[in-house]
């Protein structure tokens, strides 16, 4: 009798849980389909190879923004990843360290700061001293955005690893740093990559931090010390314009951004699985 009730409950919970998942996936499906349908028309050869054209002129593209997205986001990932990983590892592997409490608090608080204020921060700290806008300052703003996500994810994942792993390493005579580098971090690869990808996705979609830092550029540029364009900036500006062609390009850019992140996500997960 009891057994039957338990199996019934089990069945019901399975249904609930799958239903909950559906609730998550359905709107996602809607959004993806909408982005795809609205943007696929804009993804032509010109889109990928030409600089932007004024409204009414055909053949405009987003080459500067595409290149800029890569440059800015990769620099941001390097900076944010380094700081975030460092902080996360310190918190998880050296819990006795006095920096831990302030670090955790600070990291979480950073997570709640609106992106536009990150941009202001980078403006004051990088742009003004440099005397001008730069992709680098944009990367700084995005890196600050990424740090809390990476730190949180890294720390939690490392914390979840069984302590025996470290004990085994120490028992073999490995110094602490070796244990962390060669045993712990590889075991937590998956979670760390999740954190990095979440952070990258978040940063790659933000336009507000780039308004006063990377600024945007209608011309192709690879110079990290000068103004540079990025896909979210273009989406932001084009989507609110009155021109159909520009609006379509905005959706195209959104679609491209999503596709890029999908591919990066897939590749990163595959690399980690090995």
């Amino acid at each position: 009798m009891n057994l039957r009730r338990r199996y019934l409950r089990d069945r019901i919970m399975v249904a609930f849980v799958y239903l909950g998942t559906l609730v998550v996936l359905l709107p996602l499906g809607f959004i993806l389909v909408h982005v795809f349908l609205s943007g696929v028309g804009a993804l032509n050869w010109d889109f990928f190879t030409k600089p932007p054209a004024p409204p009414g002129e055909p053949g405009g593209g987003m080459l500067p923004a595409i290149v800029g997205t890569f440059v800015i986001d990769l620099m941001a990932l390097a900076m944010g990843g380094a700081l975030g990983l460092g902080g996360g590892v310190l918190m998880a592997e050296y819990p006795e360290h006095p920096l831990n409490r302030p670090l955790r608090l600070v990291a979480n608080v950073l997570g709640g700061v609106p992106a536009i204020l990150m941009g202001l921060f980078a403006f004051v700290v990088v742009v003004l001293p440099m005397g001008g806008f730069s992709a680098f300052s944009g990367s700084v703003a995005l890196a600050v955005l990424m740090i809390p996500i990476i730190m949180r994810a890294t720390e939690e994942v490392l914390r979840m690893l069984p302590w025996e792993l470290r004990e085994a390493g120490l028992a073999l005579g490995l110094p602490r740093w070796r244990v962390t580098l060669s045993l712990v971090l590889p075991a937590a690869k998956g979670g760390i990559v999740t954190g990095l990808l979440l952070a990258l996705a978040r940063a790659a979609g933000e336009a507000a931090p780039l308004l006063f830092t990377a600024f945007g550029n209608s011309f192709l540029s690879f110079d990290p010390l000068g103004p540079m364009d990025s896909l979210p900036l273009k989406i932001y500006v084009y989507a609110i314009s009155p021109y159909e062609d520009w609006i379509r390009q905005a959706w195209g850019a959104a679609l491209l951004l999503v596709l890029l992140l999908m591919v990066t996500n897939y590749l990163a997960r595959r690399a980690v699985r090995r």
Partner: protein, 348 residues
């Protein structure tokens, strides 16, 4: 390997050839027009002008921070702002008008075949929330013969700060004492009633979806998106529907100021649309005081650019639904541009 080298050179050569790049920031309203200007200018001269629409306030701040060569704003600098520049850098700020725009009242009343007529005070009362239904006698008397439905009036305004709001509220403050006292003029104001939409598209979207809604938007936007907008009675008593001709006519005033810092709302011009406004590019008079300028070549490039904009560039305005500058504004700009200096030397 060789091919990669070729690509690199191919991409770098245009960068090296052009040499001069100018950065500008500011108003979103003229952004499409400036995109056209700078693309055409680049093809003409190879000079690259990188303009980003971060908002008029942003543009003025960047000009003050000297991270850009020029700013752009839908409203002229206030006297305090001019003074701030004077105090910090010892130079005046030259206003160069580039085009005229207009703000129109957009509404959603199905079944009407001609544009509605509004008077200034009526618009103020609508946005104050004092006129609650569309079949109110005050609207009916301005629109004889029009079948007005008994829908409630839903006011839609901008939720974000914008030059469009500035122009609209400036007009309302001029035609309504109550508006002046209760709400005032600004890029963001405390609206007594109504829903807020973000950006022109937010307002237009809300108006489109709400029968009985009234809002305001830039003419360019209303025309591009085929939204119904009304005629507004100007100071001379005429009901004027905004279009390129009536907007340009709004600047036909006596004593056009030499520094071009003029407000055209509630214009005395007899055929002018009463809610029109210039949009300006802002530059330092003494360009060398702006750290963003690294050489006289850049200053000269800016001078040439601005000279071109107020002359040949104007030919591009109307195709994009921006009104071209009237003669009087062009003459004033010529004088102002001739006053620009780099280390004391003129740039012409």
């Amino acid at each position: 390997m060789l091919r990669r080298f070729f690509w690199l050179v191919f991409l770098l050569v245009p960068a090296l050839a052009a040499g001069v790049t100018l950065n500008g920031a500011g108003a979103t309203f003229p952004y499409p027009l400036y995109a056209k200007y700078f693309s055409a200018y680049h093809k003409l001269t190879g000079v690259r002008v990188n303009y980003q629409s971060i908002g008029s306030g942003g543009g003025i701040r960047q000009l003050y921070a000297q991270t850009v060569h020029f700013g752009a704003s839908d409203a002229p600098l206030t006297d305090e702002q001019v003074e701030a520049f004077e105090r910090k850098f010892g130079t005046a700020v030259v206003h160069v008008p580039t085009a005229l725009g207009a703000v129109v009242p957009i509404y959603n009343l199905p079944g009407l075949s001609t544009p509605l007529r509004f008077s200034g005070p009526l618009l103020a009362d609508l946005f104050l929330g004092k006129v609650k239904k569309w079949n109110d006698p005050r609207i009916a008397e301005l629109n004889p013969g029009v079948k007005l439905p008994p829908f409630p009036v839903t006011v839609v305004h901008r939720s974000d700060g914008s030059g469009t709001t500035y122009v609209w509220t400036e007009y309302l403050a001029k035609v309504s004492q109550e508006w002046r006292d209760r709400v005032g003029v600004g890029k963001s104001v405390s609206w007594p009633t109504g829903l807020g939409g973000k950006g022109n598209e937010g307002v237009a979207g809300l108006v489109r979806q709400t029968p009985g809604a009234i809002g305001y938007a830039e003419l360019v936007y209303a025309v591009q998106n085929k939204i119904a907008y009304g005629a507004v009675q100007n100071r001379a008593g005429k009901f004027v529907l905004a279009d390129l001709a009536t907007v340009k006519a709004a600047a036909a005033i006596d004593d056009f100021p030499a520094d071009t810092r003029v407000s055209l709302t509630d214009t005395p011009a007899p055929d002018g649309y009463p809610v029109a406004s210039f949009t300006w590019i802002l530059v330092y008079r003494d360009l060398d005081k702006n750290r963003a300028f690294k050489s006289k070549a850049e200053a000269k490039a800016l001078f040439d650019l601005l000279w071109w904009i107020v002359h040949d560039g104007q030919k591009l305005n109307e195709a994009l639904h921006y009104a071209a500058l009237p003669e009087v504004a062009v003459r004033a700009s010529e004088a102002n541009l001739r006053a620009l200096r780099y280390r004391g030397e003129p740039l012409e």
